[in-house]
Symmetry: C2
Subunit: 431 residues, 2 copies
């Protein structure tokens, strides 16, 4: 981890720049995958399962029996933990529901707005070394709360053609029944175009490797929506001497273990504190199973000593971290001045991992600086908000002339006529 | 307008298919424009003003004096209409504000969610034949209500290098002071990369021709967000014999006059009614200043007689219209079953043009079937919703073990450690 002391804004910007996506090369691999799935559907999915997952699949859909047997393979402890996390996530996401809005803006002119579920949603859960059942909770719980009638979950099988039982248990707990053994860019393609096994969806959610991310970006051309653009996961910790170096080190490491391209940043007013954290990192790193990954991620990471609080906050807002831990005196005062962040963790006893799993907030958050202009996944992500208006004859008499004048001045005579013809009819005129 | 009577779903789908975007050709023109603005900033903008707007501009920024003189050039009637429309739009959008959410999901585990304004937003207002001051209201009012600190408005100048006074009056009324004379793809590029005259923004809003639309889609690669993907504007009217053929015809024409690629659809249970509407369209069309445009749009449009209400509603939800007028008996029963639409207009006295200008709902709505997965512009479009969590030592004792078990099972040991190290410290253990 590089240590910068009171760097210039330019130096900061340079050091904290995110890695550049190598879109071109990846798109070259992903585009033919999309084409093949569009053309050959399930047949292409089976071929890709053979090629990438090294497994021959007769049936892509997970059977009811597979789901039932999975339940016995998950430990009681883990089941209880998943149930507890689900409760918190459910509680916080249910509280996000927007009640129907009804506003009579003028007598006889009533405007309404209502949340309506996106009808068909696709959840992508990555495979690989770790079974991300926590992501099943983070996407499945709000999808169910929103009332999405059709939910499909795609996740790659292992070499035995199986899905990790914790993923199946979690999906079943939420009430997701359509689970398909398909991963990678081909899963994204399948949900975009639809195949015999995978229904076409309106919106695709979920994290993934660079191929999945590229595929999600590409399929937006075909009318499907995605949760958000994605880059590697990241945390910025803002801590002063009231924080505990060992805790801060543990938080930075928990991000660093995600991947070698993870972004890890420490901002602190104290050089002494920074050095303590760096020392702790080196000590804790030794015992980690994923220490090689964490080591590489840390090699590209930066600790910034920024004595001036205003400059520190400006730096944070400029960086727009996905996860922001604030462990300083007067943390709430700092919190109020944060305008760009995905999710914020306040105080010494709020590790990022609490939010990753169980505090109730969503862990699908904007990375790569997108916290400037995107929110994390929430109940909102699974609904559209449709507006309605109903105008009475009396209401139209009031608002009509306003519309007529404006339409006429925008040179849209037919827009004006749609009002005039109604007003004339109310006056008893022929036209 | 083609008349289909009880067509099959396939026939409907084919007839109501939206025109295909010619993305490739347009991107070929737009990409070099983006590059030039990125490289040469204002210099490129001046060059493009000469080339496309046929005007030499010394200063790109609209001066305070230009804004002040514009006020005298707008008629009293129009000013009053704009003020009245603004009040309705303000009232309905202010009511959309999401209060801060605070939820103690477990004792000692508090989650919060707060709307925070997107800091820098860019509003694009097209030029061309009509001065779209109504769009200034639709984008500017929620941007101000959301509290976006930096708002820039870009709009192309006429051949005299001037902006239409109604646009300047409306912007000033809302309190937008940074107005730049730049249009087309180059305006989108300027807001993406920033130039001396145009600040870089986080999110770009607003309609435009196919070059602007293509540019908006392309610049999302550079980290900027956009309001939504866009296609030609469209209306679907669902009307039965309780509706007034002349009103329905006027509504269809008000959409048809937008552009030759506008989408206009009538769905009705009665062939007799459909024929009355078609007759009315032919009569009303004759008197329209934009009749050539409307005529061409109607040539590609369809009236569908669908006797069965369930089939009609399925058709509407499948089409997912930007604007949906419902003028049937039991309109509210139909409204409740609409799951895909941008904005809905209910009853015989609610023309689409009321919503286009003054009812209070937003007129920036998802076209091209995107009503399946996107909402129209609202107050939400100008904020991010940041989540927060604050856990006390007691709270961590409760939630910590849940996180530990889940992290361990996802093979993320460092995630677990971030909790364990804190719990151990609370127990008085060293590590």
């Amino acid at each position: 981890m590089q240590l910068l002391v009171n760097p210039s804004p330019e130096k900061c910007k340079k050091n904290l720049a995110r890695p550049v996506h190598k879109t071109k090369q990846i798109n070259k691999i992903v585009k033919p995958i999309l084409k093949k799935v569009e053309k050959s559907g399930d047949k292409a999915l089976r071929k890709f399962a053979q090629e990438y997952d090294h497994v021959h699949l007769e049936t892509l859909l997970v059977s009811e029996q597979e789901i039932q047997s999975a339940k016995d393979l998950v430990s009681k402890d883990l089941k209880e933990a998943i149930v507890a996390a689900k409760q918190n996530i459910e509680r916080f996401h249910a509280a996000q529901a927007t009640p129907e809005l009804v506003e009579e803006v003028m007598p006889g002119v009533v405007c309404r707005r209502k949340s309506v579920a996106i009808q068909r949603v696709g959840l992508y859960i990555p495979g690989g070394t770790a079974p991300l059942f926590s992501t099943v909770l983070m996407l499945g719980v709000p999808a169910k709360l929103a009332g999405c009638p059709e939910i499909v979950l795609c996740t790659p099988p292992n070499r035995e053609g199986k899905i990790h039982p914790a993923i199946l248990f979690t999906a079943d707990l939420i009430g997701i029944t359509k689970i398909v053994k398909v991963g990678g860019a081909q899963a994204i393609a399948a949900m975009t175009f639809g195949t015999d096994s995978v229904p076409q969806v309106d919106k695709i959610f979920g994290p993934g490797n660079q191929y999945v991310t590229a595929a999600k970006q590409l399929v937006t051309r075909y009318g499907v929506a995605i949760d958000m653009p994605a880059g590697p996961s990241e945390v910025l910790v803002y801590a002063d001497e009231t924080a505990v170096p060992a805790f801060v080190a543990a938080d930075l490491l928990s991000q660093a273990e995600h991947g070698i391209d993870s972004q890890v940043v420490l901002v602190t007013p104290s050089e002494k504190f920074a050095k303590k954290v760096l020392k702790e990192i080196n000590e804790q790193l030794e015992d980690l199973p994923r220490k090689d990954i964490a080591y590489k991620a840390l090699a590209n990471s930066t600790a910034v000593v920024m004595e001036d609080r205003n400059s520190a906050i400006a730096l944070i807002n400029q960086y727009a971290p996905e996860h922001l831990i604030i462990a300083v005196e007067d943390a709430e005062e700092v919190v109020d001045r944060i305008v760009n962040a995905g999710s914020v963790f306040i105080g010494n006893y709020t590790p990022e991992s609490a939010g990753d799993y169980a505090s109730g907030t969503n862990h699908t958050l904007p990375t790569y600086g997108y916290a400037r202009n995107y929110s994390g996944v929430s109940l909102d992500s699974f609904v559209k908000k449709i507006t309605y208006q109903k105008i009475t004859a009396e209401g139209l008499k009031k608002i009509g002339p306003v519309v007529e004048i404006m339409a006429e001045n925008e040179l849209l005579q037919a827009h004006k006529n749609a009002v005039t013809i109604r007003l004339n009819s109310l006056k008893g005129k022929k036209k």
